[in-house]
């Protein structure tokens, strides 16, 4: 608990110190004012977060955390839970969607086991931060103990801080996850924290049919009814209806915020983790960049609650950090606009007349 308290304590407000200066620079560049829209907003946000007036996004890292879910045994997913470790090996071999997209934008993928249900084969790039061998079935009781919830967050903080130290800093980070059935606890978290009804925030995950979707909704309703998580106690929510990789992502978001690193939130599951991080410390929101609007039902409820606006809308629903990777590419473009374009004076271009 000490590590968690300490990390939260270090998170500062993003206070707009550089706002005027950055706006002036953007307006001095050879383009009509504001004509690069969200790229300009992104550049301003990244300057404020990093405190660097001319940022460079060289060290880009996506944290893809894995965990299993007891609720998978209730039949809420289209895939067997063996897929969780299989996909971890796929990440380590470089064959998954996140590997391809991260490489495309020049980002490194950090893979960590927060709670896969089996012992994974050792691999030089695999970080083992296992809290337990999968959560318990939330439809039958709490997913984990309160101590395990804290540990999952602190393990996530540890993963981030170790990478930060190893690279001597991180310029931008993204969240990602793998865990068969993890849209189920995510929808449960979103329903409890935003107060929306379960059927309004529960979708088809990897692609389940109507019958399975109804079962999933009933399972989540039961999980909430049995566990009675307190919406105002983020640790209670995480421990009763969460997941180990979700807790780990809460830690990634807290650690990034405490170290003033822009954190790109991937899709639905990552956004559920962002909700928990926000409930623990609302200042984290200023460090978040929402990558994309997932196909998964319920994503909009999170954006409304957090006041975030997703950057992309490409009908993605893969997770792993794939949307975050694409958004990191856009964020780097935004920063390059700020730092590499010529000014009106440099280029000898006439300014606006009215």
């Amino acid at each position: 608990m000490e590590k968690l308290r300490e990390t939260i304590g270090k998170i500062e407000s993003v206070d707009g110190t550089f706002e005027e200066k950055t706006q002036n620079r953007l307006d001095s560049l050879t383009k009509p004012q504001g004509s690069l829209g969200r790229l300009e907003e992104l550049a301003k946000q990244i300057v404020e977060i990093t405190g660097n007036e001319m940022p460079k996004l060289d060290r880009k890292v996506i944290f893809t955390l894995a965990g299993d879910h007891g609720v998978a045994s209730s039949g809420v997913s289209a895939y067997p839970k063996e897929v969780t470790p299989q996909m971890v090996y796929n990440f380590l071999a470089g064959g998954a969607g996140i590997n391809v997209l991260a490489k495309h934008v020049g980002a490194e993928v950090v893979v960590a086991d927060l709670g896969v249900a089996c012992d994974l084969k050792a691999h030089p790039d695999l970080i083992i931060k296992k809290v337990n061998y999968g959560t318990k079935n939330i439809a039958e009781g709490a997913a984990m103990t309160k101590e395990e919830a804290v540990k999952s967050i602190e393990n996530g903080i540890g993963v981030f801080e170790e990478k930060f130290r190893a690279l001597g800093g991180i310029d931008i980070a993204g969240t990602g996850e793998m865990g068969i059935a993890n849209t189920t606890p995510s929808s449960a978290i979103v329903s409890v924290i935003t107060g929306k009804e379960v059927n309004m925030v529960t979708g088809r995950g990897t692609g389940i049919d109507d019958a399975r979707l109804q079962l999933k909704i009933k399972t989540i309703e039961k999980a909430i009814q049995i566990n009675k998580p307190d919406p105002d106690d983020a640790l209670d929510v995480l421990s009763k209806i969460g997941g180990f990789e979700i807790g780990g992502l809460v830690g990634i978001i807290l650690a990034a915020s405490s170290l003033r690193v822009p954190i790109v939130i991937d899709g639905f599951i990552s956004s559920a983790a962002a909700l928990v991080a926000y409930k623990l410390e609302p200042k984290t929101r200023d460090y978040m960049i929402s990558a994309h609007f997932s196909v998964e039902r319920g994503h909009a409820a999170i954006f409304d609650y957090l006041g975030l606006k997703p950057l992309l809308d490409l009908n993605l629903r893969l997770g792993e950090g794939t949307g975050a990777a694409l958004a990191i590419g856009v964020a780097e473009a935004a920063v390059k606009i700020l730092t590499q374009m010529a000014t009106f004076d440099d280029a000898g271009v006439s300014k606006k007349q009215n």
Copy 2:
């Protein structure tokens, strides 16, 4: 006229030859089927266009064409027309938004003068294909002669074909433009071809105030009233209320389609050119990828007419090809998903159960 007819004659239908095979490959990759949404659609479109089952987007080119507009003297823009040549020099010096974003995605920028109102200083990278020294004021008569309209298109075809030959092929191309006041002829074209009222398809361009916007709308209404362009005769529309760089972009789109090169359509002005290209040969639509949803009012009318769905929505309104550059980055990501991800069999990952 011969070159134009010949190019149009070479444009083939995109007939779905590879559809099943590409879909099978996408479904064999380690991800839930369809979970990469628009990336998968893009990959399929690029395979169909190129006829290459495993495409690589190495040779990426953005064609940024410049031209001046007589209607600028009616006070429809916030910038003086001197900015057109100034920005051309900025493109050549590498300081503009398009230079920064093209470099970010590994694309080359080809800059061509289709009708700037002055003689530009020679530069090794500047292509001179000037049709005339700016168009005439469309509020007073035709922008150009029918012969000039044909020449502007054929010059655009020439710019594309020469680059295609020089590189030994182009894997993906984007459109871009520079021309003070060019949203005015673009709105006129969109109104005439889509049948929408002028005030529904006329926006603030580089950022004009309310008074200037009203003047702009009245100017366009007058231009249409005086010239009476025939909506079903694309050359009539282009010559009476178009522009030289717009005609050049029509040529770029026709040439790309004739050579089976995916063509990424940038913002509002490029999309107006896409409308003209489509009226000349509807098959061109299959080669088009719409980059983004511009802030400029009237862009939606073009998408509705062409049945295209923009890829990005980032509140951009700069033009130059900046949105096309970002979209080319996404298109390359899409192709890498298709060609670089591991299959379920390769990775030993279990498939879906239901």
